[in-house]
Assembly symmetry: C2
């Protein structure tokens, strides 16, 4: 077996980048040769965390088989989210907190999944189980990932285990979760420099619902009005995307990470289904969604219910 | 969530039966409502272990969705080895030591796999991690599974962790691994009373390989020739099964647990792929496989390589 390359999913977020760093460290401590790499550059939030804890960004790889025959996946397992030549290498281990799909191996492997809010929460447990100390800087990165995935524990995906892990990691790192966490999350909300096209693709996914094709983009911010000041431009781009990409409905969820709620901008049809799903009245194509921060748990399910009933 | 049903694979062996019992016990100790069940009756080896440690055989289920919406898989994950209506229930957790294939969930779950020789070795670690004591009778069953899967540590699937776990479990159970182990293994080699149909289903699994459907049965014995004396009858039954069950290829692996090697009987096609996989020449559809005792490590991988190259 050649050196293990450890990496998270494409378009990496803070958990994808830092869980690769943390697991590579853990593997090294148990005598394995492992290197953390990434399938893309860090976003602004992740770059802030890496700089804060003096850790270099993992180098970016396009393919794996040209340098190893064995890889380790973190924060994902589905082939379409992984390295392009995943079929040409053997998966030695996976640590993940997502559903399992489109994943198959020829041989037995290490697979550790738990339905918690963050991959680093599982890794924290693995360090404890193996009695391996976590260096302060690494603990800071791992806490950053839990803050990121849970929006400082406010997301409904967050579990008690995530909170316990983040609290323990913050103590090792010597940081205040609230103070550092909010600063880090804000570093990822620097949307002023982004084009409208970037805002709509930064974190966007398509969902077939009944016979409709629904596109849902989400951005995190500390100033919803700042984003909505570009509503005319955003609406025009969403309208255009509906035409060219055959979306029936394009929703933009603008999440205020301080207030833990979101503004919704809805373009396309049927808009009355949107109103029914969230129990709101759209005014000028917008509505407030109090308490909504999770696309996975709070946006997709009520919409799916309305479109498939 | 209704009560968790915990079960191993079809045609259960000692690990499939006892890992369900062990994991259901562990889940109960952590406050979950869980019941160990089975997808078939215990074989003679397992029956010997259950009687030795005064534990009742789990009740046999045909389907799961009629009594629960949530299940736990042990010692397997592939849908074709699982309960017939696996698609109609949600998988809450998996503990396994096999490759992952033909397995997909809609939601995040607990998944714990390690490339060790026995599911009960992983469960032993989970008991330790959660600081839950293992009762003596349960420890005896768990040690029995490791003895069974590792053929008393002679199988290449056996790892240091399996030996450590078995040694610790034997101490809790108050048994001698060598003495009890050999008696238990021999209890499972009483093949003279078995019909040909029974020999072919005692421990048989299906494996999709490339575009072929391969069935592989394995029996343990202390007298390979005694089994091969029924070759004509076995071949006819395998031929018939290929027709009715749509297997392309049916392999029977007859393993001598004292000598630690196997005889192979291959029926169906392509037989040249079998010869290529094992580097042997089939004579009258049979070949010796020196040193081969593990279907998982020494039979499935070389065959898969040939069928998927």
């Amino acid at each position: 077996m050649s050196k293990l390359l450890v990496f998270g999913h494409q378009n990496p977020d803070t958990d994808a980048i830092t869980s690769a760093i943390a697991y590579a460290y853990l593997l090294n401590q148990t005598g394995m040769e492992a290197e953390a790499v990434a399938l893309g550059l860090p976003n602004e939030e992740t770059a802030y965390a890496l700089e804060k804890f003096n850790v270099n960004a993992p180098r970016v790889i396009e393919t794996a088989a040209n340098e190893t025959d064995t890889v380790v996946l973190v924060d994902h397992n589905e082939a379409q989210q992984s390295v392009s030549d995943i079929k040409d290498v053997e998966v030695y281990a996976v640590v993940d907190h997502h559903r399992i799909a489109n994943f198959e191996t020829a041989n037995p492997l290490y697979y550790r999944a738990e339905p918690v809010g963050c991959t680093n929460t599982i890794l924290y447990k693995m360090f404890k189980e193996k009695n391996i100390a976590i260096p302060a800087d690494l603990a800071g990165l791992m806490a950053s990932a839990i803050i990121s995935d849970s929006l400082l524990f406010k997301s409904p995906t967050c579990t008690e285990e995530d909170k316990e892990a983040a609290t323990a990691l913050a103590a090792i790192a010597g940081i205040s979760l609230e103070e550092y966490g909010l600063t880090m999350l804000k570093a990822g909300t620097n949307l002023g420099t982004k084009t409208v096209a970037e805002l709509l693709t930064l974190d966007a996914k398509s969902f077939p619902m009944g016979d409709k094709n629904v596109r849902i983009a989400q951005v995190n911010t500390v100033d919803v009005q700042d984003v909505l000041s570009r509503q005319a431009e955003l609406s025009a781009a969403m309208e255009a995307a509906n035409q060219t990409e055959n979306y029936d409905l394009f929703l933009m969820v603008i999440t205020n990470i301080i207030e833990s709620d979101s503004a919704l901008l809805a373009i396309g049809s049927p808009l009355d289904a949107v109103e029914e799903a969230f129990g709101v009245k759209l005014v000028n194509n917008t509505a407030n969604l109090p308490g909504v921060v999770s696309r996975k748990k709070q946006v997709v399910p009520p919409l799916t219910d309305v479109f498939t009933k």
